[in-house]
Amino acid sequence: MEALVAIAIGLLTATGLYLILRQRTFPLVVGLSLVSYAVNLFLFASGRLAAGVPPIIDKAASGYTDPLPQALVLTAIVISFGMTAVIVIMALGAWFTGGDDHTDFSDGASGEGASGDRDA
């Protein structure tokens, strides 16, 4: 199972980074979400995988998994939401202010819309 989880982490990272490199805001937001999943999963995996041993104290429990990474990831999930939300609104702001959803400033044709529209 460890190999499968490792592959999942790697794939989420790879697809997330690929989308981040796609020069537009929306793929960037999606890509960032995927990278967040990967990071959370990685942090979680640092507590090692274990099935059926939740960290709920119980006399009948056979054992417990490591609760600390879980606590870290729990807060990380909520913070990822906050970060995603900020980036989403920034993307919207750029779109409505400049009429452009490129993530690159460039001297070429693709970036001109941003500055041109702002002056208009």
Binding site: G10, L11, L12, S33, A45, Q70
Partner: protein, 944 residues
């Protein structure tokens, strides 16, 4: 205590002159003078003990973890320097009052001067070398302000910048050297370091430390090849030149070498570097000084030369030579400050300080002439003045150097002294003798305010010259004893018999006179010969650096976000690869979890969804859908992998995130155009693929090994129930063990929500964004009429109370079973969101009583107050408590302060999530979303 006060006084008093300026320029100058004088008097009170050989120490802890203490010490060396700094400081303050023009901001001048004085005093009184570094940097900064005081002059600005670049750069090297020194000695306190000479000199890090420290000292003291900044610093007002460039700042490097002399000197490395540099500086400085026509430039290069002389003496490494160095520091400070102040008078009264335009001033300015004559003859080393005494002792010491050919050092030293005689004669004879020249202003002697200070210094020159044993030997003894760590009793005399030193001295005088006689011819040769222009070289070096920095910057970050990100990904992956290649690669030995069918199917779904999210990314809606799928599978996966809390959180956050992104997508284009070229796509696939592979390998390696250190979680599991009163270890960590982290986190979440609110406000404010929003609404095609379907409205209304009950349930059980404030907040948020979705923002908002901002604020307050409540019992912030309440007919009911804290978490999460989505909804309204008057759409128009 007094020591710290002496160092702190100039800083404390630095703002007095600026404030007192309202009461007039005299008051301003007087206040600055009083600050210096008070420091000097306090120093004098300490002097008797120091002269008895005691070391006065005072120390307070500052950052003990770093070895940084506010440690001050006063010994003979510190006394000599502090006396010079404060004493000459007073004279310069007096002089500047009459020197500065009416248009110069005097308050500012004295403030800078006192700041500088405080920094210098701090250096010479520091016992802790880290503290010394702080003061060292302060001198660089405050001297920058002083050199650039006339900021309207380009020369002033450039000179200040150059001085800062050179001395600041040396300061950086010094930091490195001092840190190494402290590491070797095991302490940053001089009191300890000075006792560890053997340990330091035998360390393999001795040479790096020595070179770095000397870089700091040489740049500060304008030693070759860093001497070029000092003449350019002459753009400062003359009182500053006199103070910084004769008596104080340039002596800081000398002080440092003297301070660390017991532990650094005596090795061949020390001798060759320090003596060699000193000698080179002495010769080069003296030669250049001789050819200067500007009085201040002549004095500046002569200062360079004399600093080289002192450096050379310290480099010899013998106690006797160090003693002569101390004596010469004192003598040089007196005659050089007097000369600078005289040059300032000449400049002030004649309007020029160009030797070619001056001449015959001795008749018009007899008083100034007398002072200049005494000081310059002392500089030339003419008996019986003090310059003669120390110069002859210096020549004597060069005969006893332990390294190199015996004749070389004395010969070079005599040669240097010869040039020194020559430029001193030029200063005196070309300026004050000969035919009176026509100067811009008619020359005359200045008022007492200007001549008092140099006259006093000239008096000291004569006094020390005539009665050295009475007037100076005690101070030199104290300073030399402190420098060398041995008891020194110096014998200063005018006549030692027919010694070699006397011969060398006479040769220097005679040779200097010959040189002076040849000066017109030599000057012609000098002007004809090409020579490097330090300023041009420096400027082009700086410009080159700036250009290449800009180029590098542009190449790495040219405004293209994807390029910067690609570079970052490549760099991080490459770094990881390097680390991997350098390590060992044994397979992990931990027992693995077997693969079972159901999780395997889930995994397959997740992998497919992730791949599709990338492959289908141009269709944004599909790509978003895949994100939702991944999130759902992750939460199921968390549940299976013994993390029920994570499963709950992930699934609720997922719902909110997808709604948020759907709302955003509403405004954005629904498709991403195909615009990357094939090579670019291949590049991106390669980069992200490599990074993904690396992360996968790292995760696998991590999961197949047992932790390198025993995890600290055993504590949390064991203490969860007895310590925090809850059986859910994850929840107790969040609200109790690591409550402070959670407190920080909800604050961050609240701030993120407020940022979003503020950004929305700015988008809605009149402007292009707002206009475009409105246009966006008008341009949209007609939509399906069923925006608020009856069925959905009814279903969400029905579900709301149930959802709220579930949230309360999740909240209350959180401490013992999966759940808690985070999840409960999200559940309530989702229940409310449903109402928004069903009936529209406008309709819902009119029925909302509590602003979401208040929820965030209340949440943070509740959490904070709960934490602060522990103070009432004298416990640290966020210490929790719990107990049981019996309420018939219910079971024993547990309460815990942690639950109140969790309530704060709940409120903040709820408020933040709602504020974020509400902000997006407001954008929609600006885009023409109509407000529903009824909770659901009733198609009544046609029916009636």
């Amino acid at each position: 205590m007094t020591l710290a006060l002496i160092a702190a006084l100039p800083f404390l008093g630095a703002f007095l002159p600026a404030l007192m300026l309202r009461a007039g320029r005299n008051a301003s100058a007087a206040s600055a003078f009083c600050v210096s004088a008070l420091g000097f008097v306090l120093l004098c009170f300490q002097a008797p003990a120091v002269l008895r050989g005691e070391v006065v120490l005072a120390s307070w802890q500052w950052l003990p973890a770093l070895g940084l203490t506010l440690g001050f010490r006063l010994d003979g060396l510190g006394l000599l320097f502090a006396g010079l700094i404060l004493g000459i400081g007073m004279l310069v303050i007096l002089y500047a009052r009459f020197y500065l023009a009416k248009s110069d901001p005097m308050g500012q001048f004295y403030t800078f001067l006192l700041l500088f004085q405080g920094a210098m005093t701090g250096i010479v009184l520091s016992d802790n070398i880290l503290l010394l570094l702080v003061f060292w940097e302060l001198t660089s900064l405050s001297s920058f302000l002083l050199i650039g005081f006339w900021s309207h002059l380009p020369a002033g600005r450039q000179g200040a910048r150059m001085a800062l670049a050179v001395t600041g750069g040396g300061g950086l090297a010094l930091i490195g050297g001092m840190l190494i020194l402290g590491q070797i000695a095991g302490s940053y306190d001089l009191s300890v370091i000075l006792t560890k000479a053997d340990l330091i000199q035998s360390s393999p890090l001795y040479l790096p430390a020595l070179i770095l420290i000397l870089l700091g000292a040489f740049t500060k003291s304008a030693q070759f090849p860093f001497h070029f900044w000092l003449p350019h610093a002459m753009a400062a007002p003359t009182p500053v030149s006199a103070y910084l460039h004769s008596a104080t700042m340039v002596k800081a490097g000398i002080f440092l070498m003297a301070r660390l002399w017991p532990v650094l000197s005596g090795s061949p490395e020390w001798f060759w570097i320090v003596t060699g540099t000193g000698l080179a500086t002495m010769l080069i400085g003296a030669k250049i000084a001789f050819f200067q026509n500007d009085l201040k430039a002549l004095l500046a290069f002569s200062t360079v030369s004399h600093l080289g002389l002192i450096t050379m003496l310290l480099g010899l490494g013998t106690p006797a030579a160090a003693t002569v160095a101390m004596f010469h520091i004192l003598n040089h400070a007196t005659f050089k400050a007097a000369l600078f102040l005289t040059a300032g008078i000449v400049d002030h009264e004649t309007g020029t300080r160009d030797l070619a335009r001056l001449g015959g001033l001795r008749r018009a300015m007899p008083l100034t002439f007398a002072i200049a004559a005494i000081a310059s003859l002392s500089m030339a080393g003419v008996p019986p003045l003090n310059g003669f005494l120390s110069k002859e002792m210096m020549l004597e010491e060069t005969l006893h150097a332990g390294y190199g050919p015996a004749w070389l050092l004395p010969a070079l030293a005599t040669f240097g002294a010869l040039w020194s005689v020559a430029y001193s004669l030029r200063f005196l004879l070309h300026g004050f003798f000969g035919n009176p020249a026509k100067t811009p202003q008619k020359p005359h002697d200045p008022g007492i305010g200007l001549w008092a200070a140099p006259a006093l210094l000239a008096g000291l020159v004569v006094l020390i010259g005539l009665l050295p044993m009475t007037s100076a030997a005690w101070l030199v003894n104290a300073a030399a004893s402190a420098t060398t760590g041995t008891v020194v009793a110096v014998k200063i005399a005018h006549w030692h018999g027919l010694t070699a030193a006397l011969g060398m001295s006479l040769a220097a005088l005679a040779g200097g006179a010959v040189l002076f006689a040849l000066s017109p011819r030599l000057a012609a040769l000098w002007n004809a010969a090409p020579r490097p222009d330090a300023k041009r070289i420096f400027d082009s070096a700086i410009n080159g650096l700036a250009r290449s920095a800009t180029r590098l910057n542009d190449a790495a970050h040219d405004g293209s976000f994807t390029r910067a990100t690609a570079i970052a990904i490549a760099t991080i992956t490459a770094a990881a690869l390097c680390a991997f290649a350098g390590g060992s690669h044994a397979a992990g030995s931990r027992a693995l979890l077997p693969v079972t069918p159901v999780p395997a199917i889930g995994w397959l779904l997740l992998v497919t969804a992730a791949a599709l999210a990338a492959i289908l990314h141009r269709n944004r809606l599909l790509s978003l859908l895949m994100v939702g799928v991944i999130g759902l599978i992750l939460s199921v996966g968390f549940a299976w992998l013994s993390a029920p809390d994570l499963a709950l959180t992930q699934i609720t956050v997922e719902v909110v995130t997808v709604i948020l992104m759907l709302l955003a997508l509403h405004f954005l284009p629904k498709e991403t155009p195909r615009e990357s070229t094939t090579p670019r796509r291949i590049r991106d696939i390669t980069l992200s693929g490599a990074a993904g592979l690396a992360i996968a390998a790292l995760s696998y390696a991590l999961m197949t090994r047992a932790p390198a250190f025993p995890p600290i979680s055993a504590f949390h599991l064991a203490q969860s129930k007895p310590g925090a009163g809850g059986t859910n270890a994850v929840n107790t960590i969040i609200v109790d063990f690591r409550g402070y982290d959670t407190f920080g986190e909800i604050i961050v979440l609240g701030i993120a929500a407020l940022i979003i609110f503020a950004l929305t406000e700015s988008l809605l404010a009149p402007g292009p964004a707002s206009r475009r929003l409105a246009a966006f609404g008008a341009s949209r095609p007609a939509r399906a009429g069923d925006r608020h379907p009856l069925l959905m409205v009814m279903a969400t209304r029905f579900l709301l109370p149930f959802a709220l009950v579930v949230a309360v349930f999740i909240f209350l059980r959180g401490h013992n079973l999966p759940g808690g404030g985070f999840v409960a907040g999200l559940v309530v948020a989702i229940a409310y969101l449903m109402q928004y979705l069903a009936s529209g923002l406008g309709w819902t908002e009119t029925r909302q009583r509590i602003a979401f901002h208040s929820l965030i604020g209340a949440g943070v307050l509740v959490a904070g107050l709960t934490g602060a409540g522990a103070w009432l019992w004298g416990l640290p912030f966020l210490t929790s408590n719990y107990g049981y309440i019996h309420l018939w007919p219910l079971d024993a009911f547990e309460w815990a302060t942690a639950a109140v804290f969790d309530l704060g978490v709940f409120l903040t999460v709820l408020g933040a999530v709602m504020l974020v989505l509400n902000s997006l909804g407001r954008l929609a309204r600006r885009a023409g979303e109509s407000v529903a008057r009824t909770p659901y759409d009733l198609d009544m128009g046609e029916g009636l």
